[in-house]
């Protein structure tokens, strides 16, 4: 029952290692290859069933930026001359690692 609900629901919840929750549209979350696979309905992992992804090794600050990037990416999909996203220098390294981890 839960599986069908989550596969239908338009929003998913992304949770950071330190407990911050981000509710974003499913399609937006799927900018990340990792999250997309995680939510794959056919795989029946717990994330897919509940629609809730806990990312243990990413902090809330970084995850916020990541979610922002998801939106940015989706908004500017298939466009040219897009303005760069504003990234605070202190987050750079951690964002890079998160990007690698999330296959974004």
């Amino acid at each position: 029952m839960a599986a069908t609900n989550s596969s239908q629901s338009e929003y998913v919840t992304i949770v950071s290692g330190d407990g911050f929750e981000f509710v974003i549209p499913r399609s937006t979350a799927c900018v990340s290859g990792t999250i997309r696979r995680m939510l794959e309905p056919s795989s029946k992992f717990s994330e897919a069933l509940t629609g809730r992804c806990v990312l243990e090794n990413i902090s809330g600050v970084v995850l916020e930026k990541v979610c922002e990037y998801f939106c940015y990416n989706q908004r500017n999909k298939n466009q040219t001359n897009v303005p760069d996203m504003d990234i605070p220098p202190e987050l750079c390294l951690e964002l890079l690692m998160a990007a690698d981890y999330l296959d974004t």
């Binding site: 056919s42 994330e47 990413i58 974004t104």
Partner: protein, 824 residues
């Protein structure tokens, strides 16, 4: 999915500094978790597993540079799993019946048993495969991070590909216990082939099940490079399938031909083709469709089609005879699959057309050959009346000939359209055959012209424009087939002239339509003379009208008694035999017209020549008609009046009796001397006046059918007719009929003369343009130029060339190769 990531370049430098690297560098602990998860996934128990956790574990392993080890461990674990669990299940599902009947021949007895076992086995294979696929999909997702790094760093195939190959080697290629020479794949193959064989025999099988097994074979490759050509389906199953099909259809083809029913053969072949196409879509792979089609084409069609087409009693010939469009269509479709030219079919159709055409020709010629014999028996004059009937019959036959051909043509047109899909090749084959047999009848031109004549005189009465149009169009199609178009022109001209002069044509519109159709079909040159005939007719009308006004103006009361309708014909445009005054060798003097008529004639000549000086008018008494009012004195004193419509000659003859006291007679010779009507025409006119039962205006003594020079003729005042107006036709003169042998010779001779002229003209035209030409080339050009009118005889052309050289139009320049030059 790493679209638009500006971080990409740094990826490899990060591996040793992951955020959690310090926390877990314990490979074994991580592997334990993953290993247990693998098992959970394979036992379909993944719902409590966290993707993120597993992913993070694999991530951590990769970060401590043990990714390659993880890859190896997973591979090993999967191998063990497949060996112990999946393979065991698959081999266990193989029951004895599947092993026994390797050959599909004796299917009957154990069919059901084997089938049930086969379905069980396929079901197991299918499930194993689908489970494996699904689980490996999940595992690959979880291990994605490892996959990304390891495949890139160590140049290894993705873990998914590797485990698929493992499935191939450890499940499909697992040996079967007690049968070391066999592997699971062999059983799979033979089972699927067996199922297909069952289906071909008309059983119902579980198509989706087989389709899934085929999907599996399509999803597996010989190598980890996964080239499209390396699909297991293509490397192992398909060849076996094609081979089995070949054997099956060879036997089937043989069997069907032996039953000797072409229709059945085609029906079966067509269904088989549809079946195989369907099989490729629903049971096997679309990839196989062209190949199985090839097998069918070769084994079933190409090997047997010509035999089938020519099958006695059921082949194409019978289909045509019985007008079985559906069957023909099947034959056509089958033929066109294997052969663009469809040789056996075209040959059969052509043969049949020519055969049927010959029959038509033969039936038309039956009486034609009888006729000369009768002539020989009956003597010259006696034949006249006797000939009447056969000639009429022959005319009917000629028209029947055309009708038959048209019917045949319609038949084949409908076959061509409905069965042969309006195929170009077939059309030209049909056309050739028609033209072949039509031209094999030497009288085809005459027959066709008679057909037009008949229709334009009577046939189109009461028909709508469309019907008339269709009728003429049909005739024109036949004209297209006739090679000697000039011969047709000659006949048509002759028949047309009769129609025009005797006003026998039903509708001038139809006549014009006909001409314009011919013009489109054969060209302007062909119809120009025919058109001129129409023009002459039109001008003549004007001349007649203006002559009448002229007479009115001049106010000569005497002239009013006779009205004149005149047709002034241009002698070159109209058929020669009508125009010529001389028959045979004796030169004919112009006949003597009665005084009144003579005066009228003079007056018209004066009138005509005053406006057209320099022309010469020749009066053609044999073509004209006259209306005369005749009074018959009855014995009781009453006077019966009739209007007689007679030929000009008959009018002249009757006028002689005006001057004769009642009861007096004239002999044949007297009449001849007084009128100078040609003997031949005189006999015919006297026959119609004195012999024909309904129009006996004259009495003859002695009363007999033949007219002899000593016969006496009296005016028959007892003449009776229910009608006020009486039409007295001239015996065998007016109507257009089949020519007798002599006339034909004449026509041919005239035709040859005309052809000689055409050939010479063509040669001179060509030489004038080319100045110098090799003989062979000249021949080709001449033949090419004239082919639209007729097919010139090569010898005739040679003779014409020689004659032109004699007359110094051209000269021989070289002897080898023979070359001619134009003499200006």
């Amino acid at each position: 999915m790493r679209n638009r990531t500006e971080f990409q370049g740094y990826e490899l430098t990060l591996h040793h500094q992951g955020p959690t690297a310090s926390r877990s560098d314990d490979f074994d602990a991580n592997w334990e978790i993953i290993q247990s998860a693998l098992k959970q996934i394979h036992t379909k128990n993944a719902s409590h597993l966290s993707f993120e956790q597993l992913y993070r574990n694999a991530y951590n392993i990769v970060l401590i540079s043990r990714g390659n080890d993880l890859y190896g461990r997973v591979q090993q674990w999967e191998k063990d799993w497949l060996d112990t669990q999946v393979s065991a299940r698959a081999t266990a599902a193989i029951s004895p019946p599947l092993l026994l009947a390797k050959d599909v021949a004796n299917v009957q007895d154990q069919a059901n048993e084997r089938r049930a076992a086969g379905e069980r086995f396929l079901q197991v294979i299918k499930e194993s495969w689908e489970d494996h696929q699904l689980c490996m999909g999940m595992i690959t997702d979880v291990l994605m991070y490892m996959d990304r790094v390891v495949t890139a760093d160590h140049n290894k195939p993705s873990i998914y590909v590797i485990t698929m190959a493992l499935f191939r080697d450890h499940v499909l290629r697992a040996p079967i216990p007690n049968h070391p020479e066999l592997v699971v794949a062999n059983i799979l193959e033979s089972t699927v082939l067996f199922m297909i064989h069952l289906e071909r025999l008309g059983h119902i099988i579980d198509r989706p099940l087989i389709r899934h097994c085929i999907y599996m074979l399509e999803g597996l490759y010989e190598t980890v490079q996964e080239e499209a050509s390396g699909k297991l389906y293509l490397t192992s199953f398909e060849p076996a399938f094609l081979e089995a099909s070949k054997v099956f259809y060879k036997a089937e083809g043989q069997r069907l031909v032996e039953t000797g029913d072409a229709t059945e053969f085609c029906k079966r072949a067509t269904t088989r083709i549809a079946e195989e196409r369907e099989r490729c879509t629903y049971t096997l792979s679309p990839l196989t469709e062209p190949k199985i089609k090839e097998v069918l084409d070769n084994e079933l069609i190409r090997a047997h089609i010509s035999e089938v087409v020519n099958l006695e009693g059921t082949g194409v010939r019978t289909m045509i005879d019985n007008h079985r469009l559906e069957a023909l269509k099947e034959v056509y479709v089958l033929s066109s699959r294997v052969d663009g030219k469809k040789l056996p079919l075209t040959a059969a159709v052509q043969n049949r057309i020519v055969e049927m055409g010959r029959d038509i020709n033969a039936s038309a010629l039956v009486t034609a050959t009888k006729l000369p014999e009768k002539n020989a028996d009956g003597g010259k004059k006696a034949a006249d009346k006797d000939k009447e009937k056969p000639i009429n019959q022959q005319t009917t036959l000629a028209i029947k000939w055309v009708d038959d051909i048209l019917a045949l043509k319609t038949k084949f047109d409908s076959i061509w359209k409905d069965s042969f899909e309006s195929d170009q090749v077939m059309q030209s084959a049909i056309t050739t055959s028609f033209s072949e047999f039509i031209n094999s009848n030497t009288r085809s031109s005459e027959h066709l012209s008679l057909f037009f004549d008949e229709n334009l005189k009577k046939g189109i009465k009461g028909k709508t424009d469309d019907e008339v149009d269709a009728l003429l169009e049909n005739g024109i199609t036949l004209l297209r087939y006739i090679k000697d178009k000039d011969l047709f022109e000659a006949y048509y001209k002759k028949h047309l002239s009769r129609r025009l002069l005797m006003k026998r044509s039903v509708s001038m519109d139809a006549e014009r339509q006909m001409i314009s159709k011919m013009k489109m079909e054969v060209g302007t040159q062909f119809t120009s003379r025919l058109e001129n005939m129409f023009k002459d007719m039109a001008i003549s009308e004007d001349v007649t009208a203006s002559y009448k006004t002229h007479i009115k103006k001049s106010g000569d009361p005497d002239q009013k008694r006779v009205e004149l309708d005149i047709n002034v014909l241009t002698s070159t445009m109209w058929p020669m035999e009508i125009m010529s005054n001389s028959r045979g060798d004796e030169v004919q003097l112009a006949c003597v017209f009665p005084r009144d008529i003579e005066r009228l004639k003079k007056s018209f000549e004066e009138f005509y020549l005053s406006s057209h000086s320099g022309r010469k008018l020749t009066w053609q008494g044999n073509m004209g008609t006259a209306d005369i009012r005749a009074n018959f004195q009855r014995p009781n004193g009453k006077i019966q009046r009739h209007e007689l419509n007679v030929s000009t000659y008959a009018m002249i003859i009757l006028m002689l009796f005006n001057d004769l006291p009642a009861g007096e007679s004239l002999t044949f010779d007297e009449i001849k001397a007084q009128t100078r009507i040609p003997g031949h025409d005189l006999i015919r006119n006297l026959q119609s006046l004195a012999v024909a039962p309904k129009t006996r205006v004259l009495k003859k003594e002695p009363m007999s059918k033949d007219v002899k020079p000593t016969d006496k003729f009296f005016f028959n005042s007892d003449f009776q007719s229910p009608f006020m107006k009486v039409r007295i036709g001239v015996v065998s003169g007016g109507a257009n009929k089949v020519e007798n042998q002599d006339q034909r010779k004449g026509t041919e001779k005239r035709l040859n003369d005309e052809r000689a002229g055409s050939i010479e003209a063509a040669i001179v035209r060509i030489m004038k343009q080319r100045k110098k030409l090799v003989h062979a080339q000249l021949m080709t050009e001449v033949l090419g130029q004239l082919s639209s009118r007729f097919t010139p005889d090569v010898n005739m052309v040679k003779k014409r060339i020689e004659s032109l050289m004699d007359r110094e139009y051209i000269e021989r320049i070289e002897d080898d190769p023979p070359t001619y030059g134009y003499v200006a």
